[in-house]
């Protein structure tokens, strides 16, 4: 497979095509007839997915460094390049994104009935933004993509959202803008300082800045703070999370799916790729470490408890995201092989299962126009297929072993245990609370007595809806049973992260720990 792909030059063009294709696709969507908009969008996103699958073989993840790199000067005077590359972690994020995109288009099929052309055009432009964030290896380009992704999402919530869409959209916008503006300042300051101290020309190149970030040591706390704030808002880390429930509730289904499935991961991805490796001295200082760990734990427990008492299904899922992403933060800061493998697995697993949950809620909403848990009950008899899939997805979110959610959580916890045993113990209580909020919700939605007449005539999932859910379901089961190939692709990049964070000695210790193990 690898040779076949090489023969057609796939490794040379794939990343650029992935970034350009959706942009190009927006043109026929905007200019074509309204009726064709969703079909065109589906073709574009499906093509995007099919093309991206080849990355599984084309990217050599073993070195753990960025692969398929390419760099073209964009603004030479400022040292800004169009530079892209991919490693195991971004590979996972890219595949997650391209998988969720066609499903999001399909899920919008009958949900979006107004201004379809604009909607689908924004959706495909959003694809470019999201993929760009994961693929960029030039910090300025990264920032541009970060903003590119923000704007379509703002419009998707603000135009096609629910009753309070404006409030939610502005809240989302303000929160993220504050963060990203600070990040821009930090990026510029970092590049300038590095250029000034090293005497080299101004450059935003990732590898260059990573290697020379020490030059900005004096500024490091401020720069890290700015990056961390931008990413923490995105994750979201408690107490910066309150934009999320509102944005989720008001966003149309696809918006919620992509918000939870992809956008939140950009925050943790940012920590993994930029904030922590650039300024390990600050990030891993006891003060910051303790703060992050505490906030992660608060997120895990608090998110789960608040999720438990939500009357609105979407808000429940939104708060559950706060809880799940807390595990990722814990894993990133514990910085062991297992905790990092696990953190990325949680990112993937959360994308799949929370994405699926939002799809399912959207399907319910299309039928009943209510997101109130109290509006349902006993529908398992009426819509058995829906209920079955809902249950499996909820179980994967709970972390039932055999499904994907377990792998990530288990690895994060077992990896973090040695470094932060007490914190890990507290985090592990998350498995109890997760079961509490999801099973309670599940009971009130699909079990109990069917006591509302409107629910008696609900129709079960249509073939189109099954087409949205079955790929996710397959991935949920597959990753739960056969996670090893994915873990192997993540691990070398995770080791690079450890090397950057703990220094070569840290990596040596990690390997030593590995070597002393069983024979």
């Amino acid at each position: 497979m690898t040779q076949l792909l090489a023969a057609i030059g796939y490794p040379q063009w794939i990343l650029h095509v992935l970034l350009l294709l959706p942009l190009a696709g927006a043109v026929p969507i905007l200019l074509g007839p309204v009726a064709a908009a969703k079909r065109t969008a589906l073709v574009v996103t499906l093509l995007e997915f099919v093309l991206s699958v080849g990355l599984w073989w084309a990217v050599d993840t073993r070195p753990g460094t960025l692969q398929l790199t390419a760099s073209v000067p964009w603004v030479p005077g400022w040292g800004i390049n169009y530079a892209v590359g991919i490693d195991g972690i971004s590979l996972a994020m890219v595949l997650l994104t391209t998988l969720l995109m066609p499903l999001s288009v399909l899920a919008s099929w009958s949900y979006i009935t107004e201004r379809e052309r604009g909607y689908y055009a924004l959706l495909v432009v959003l694809t470019t933004g999201m993929l760009g964030v994961f693929l960029a290896t030039d910090l300025f380009l990264f920032y541009v993509f970060w903003e590119v992704m923000l704007i379509p999402m703002y419009f998707i919530i603000g135009i096609w959202g629910g009753k309070n869409r404006l409030y939610a959209a502005i809240k989302f916008f303000v929160f993220t803008m504050v963060g990203s503006f600070l990040m821009l300042v930090a990026i510029l300051a970092l590049a300038w300082t590095v250029a000034g101290r090293t005497g080299e020309p101004l450059s935003f190149d990732y590898a260059h800045l990573l290697a020379n970030a020490r030059a900005a040591a004096g500024l490091a706390p401020w720069l890290f703070g700015a990056f961390a704030l931008a990413f923490a808002i995105k994750v979201p880390v408690f107490p910066l999370h309150t934009w999320l429930p509102d944005a989720h509730v008001e966003a149309p289904t696809a918006g919620s799916v992509l918000l939870a499935g992809v956008l939140l991961k950009m925050g943790t991805y940012g920590f993994l790729r930029y904030a922590v490796p650039f300024f390990p001295g600050v990030a891993m200082s006891p003060w910051v470490t303790n703060l992050v760990i505490v906030l992660a734990l608060v997120g895990i427990v608090y998110g789960a408890l608040v999720a438990m008492v939500q009357p609105d299904i979407k808000k429940l899922v939104a708060y559950s995201s706060v809880s799940h992403l807390g595990f990722v933060m814990l894993g990133i800061w514990a910085a062991t092989v297992q905790s990092l493998d696990g953190a990325v697995m949680v990112m993937i697993g959360h994308g799949l299962s929370t994405g699926a949950l939002f799809f399912l809620v959207g399907m319910l909403y299309e039928r009943r126009h209510s997101r109130d848990i109290a509006a349902y009950g006993g529908i398992a008899r009426v819509v058995p297929v829906f209920s079955l899939i809902f249950s499996v997805v909820a179980l994967s979110s709970i972390g039932l072993p055999g499904l994907n959610g377990f792998i990530g959580e288990f690895l994060v916890l077992i990896g973090s245990f040695r470094v932060h045993p007490v914190a890990t113990g507290i985090a592990t209580t998350g498995v109890i609370f997760a079961a509490a909020y999801l099973l309670w919700a599940l009971q009130r939605i699909i079990y109990n007595r069917l006591d509302q007449r409107e629910n008696e005539t609900l129709s079960d999932l249509s073939p189109r809806e099954l087409a949205v859910l079955l790929p996710l379901l397959a991935a949920i089961v597959w990753l739960g049973l056969f996670p090893a190939p994915v873990l192997e692709r993540i691990e070398p990049a995770a080791l690079r992260y450890i090397e950057a964070v703990r220094g070569p000695m840290g990596l040596f210790q990690v390997s030593q720990r590995a070597a002393e193990s069983p024979r």
Binding site: L30, W78, R115, G118, A121, F140, V144, V148, I151, F155, G158, I159, L166, I170, K171, F173, V174, P239, T242, Y302, L305, V306, V309, Q338, D341, G342, L395, L400, P401, G402, L413, I414, F417, P421, T429, V431, I432, A435, A436, L439, W440, Q443, Y447, N448, R449, P483, A484, L487, E491, P492, P504, L507, V510, S511, R513, A514, A515, S517, P518, R519
Partner: protein, 681 residues
Amino acid sequence: MTLPLPGVLEAVQEAARAAPTAAAEGVVRLVWLTVALPLAGFLANGALALRRPEAKRAVSAIGAGVLIAAFGVALAVSASLFAHPPEAPIVVPLWRWISAGAIQISFAFQVDQLSVVMLLVVTGVGSLIHLFSIGYMREDDGYARYFSYLNLFVAFMLVLVLGASLPVAFVGWEGVGLCSYLLIGFWFTEEANANAGKKAFLVNRIGDFGVLIAMFMLWWSLRSLDFATIAQRAPLRLQAAHGLVTAITLFLFLGCTGKSAQIPLYTWLPDAMAGPTPVSALIHAATMVTAGVYLVARTNVLFAMAPLSSAVVAGIGALTALFAATIGLRQYDIKRVLAYSTVSQLGYMFLGVGTGAFVAGMFHLVTHAFFKALLFLGSGCVIHALRHAYHATHSHEDAQDMRNMGGLRRYLPWTFALMLLATAAIAGVPPFSGFFSKDEILSAAFGRGAEEPLWRLFWAMGVAAAFLTAFYMMRLIAMTFLGENRTGEREREHLHEAPWIMTGPLLVLGGLSVVGGLLNLPKLLGGSPALERWLEPVFAAANRTAPLIMPEGGTESALIGGAVLAAALGLFLGWRATLARPIRIAREAAPDAGFARVLFRKYYVDEIYDALIVRPIVWLSRLVLWKGVDQGVVDGAMVNGSASLARGLGWLGGRLQSGQLGFYVAVFLIGAVWLLRAVTR
């Protein structure tokens, strides 16, 4: 720098593929079929449940067929193992599961003397209960769904039993919990049933928290989660009686108290009776709830190294045995009596394994699977008969309340005879199976008392519980089968014995309850302890670390005599006390008063947990965290701060709502161009 990792990975993988002994290899490797068959049954029946729920014949054939086939495979595997008993467990790796640094977990099954015992019990008793279910559930709308869940349960139970490492066993451990949840809430339109299912899952999750923490500790201290490796390394790398091994075993035991319904996490099991009765027999009596005992037996080396933990296990076991038995004295729902009885009997098993008498604990697990499954299925026949009678007469009485029964021996003679057998077995009447297994546990506890007086107390609690067991079981028999019938004039005519597909499995279990003691006849009675010899390699190391002290000669005879006396006294008093006064039917009965009421209300433990734990958490979450912190502090402050900002942005919003899309795209493009310009200038 280069990473030494790939080489390490290979080495680890090599180690994971422990070389199987050549002799038993062929057949033993087929052990995966015992899991795959019920799993296939689950998929097939699940598909039928969604597409053709009326195809009940196909469902029965698949549902019971896969189980009987799995039992066949289990027999073959056991025979092959019996012919060549291995020194070390035979590990059958299936695929690489989790790979993260030094953590290399292969999805592997492990066949040894201990796992085949469980394998036979699960598939054997499981087959009988599947057959029984064909009759019991025949008229249920969810027939196909029922069998798919039941098949799935068996698949997970076997993963639990066969898993070669803690994480793989944990897949089964949580999976059986899931199936338990699904089957307790099987009739989910009743909120109480759905609540009971959820409660079971949540309480078990508290236990699972313990198992997870134990796994983390084991990994970082022993660098392995494989059972075989743990057993090998623990004595070398862990300090006996030290804090670490004590903590590991206590966390493991926390998991066991959840799964096996011990104090303080037992409260879910009585509620679990909301599920169909065959489910209570299979999951909540014979198999799943014994998983905790199995886990302790599986990690016996660790427990042998942690005397404190072992004392906790034995103490909790003895306490639970006694405590649950007292509640059982005063329940009227026939299944609830049996539920508390199960909690109590599981307590005996923990008393056994906590004392270091792993064989005795496993022995009681096996005999209990026989007689308790029989008792539950028998109660199923009784409930089945009453339900039909009430149904035929359009009556709304409680078909499970023993006050509505009485005199059923005339209408259900086979069920009566078989349940009487099982009662004799559980009460410890010689020579029925329960007598031998319970006696062995009590003797071991007494023997350990020679060194540690605390065990004398545990032993006394066990004897007291044995007396109570005999009492409440005889009360059950008397209220159900003896005396005058209280079902009702018209109803009485509709009472009849269950069809053969239900009584057949009862007969087999009856036979096993009688002769089950032969598995491990004590030497005192001229027998040879076959189970003990069979399991010897599994527990050898643990028994070396913490040797058992078994009473011999006169002491042993006296102990046996005392136990038999307690049982006889309990049976007699149970019979006399129950029938001394006339029993009024449930609808007309006066509520219990005094201590009887406390017992009937289960010491109000559920209410206490609710008031101390559940309500405060919900209150905290809703009023303090959500309304207070989230909406009040965080958002309140944020929103207040940003309100002016929002007003400032308001004009943008106005544009948003009234404007055309072209406008937004234009704004977006202009913005992008401006950005580019700003940068390039």
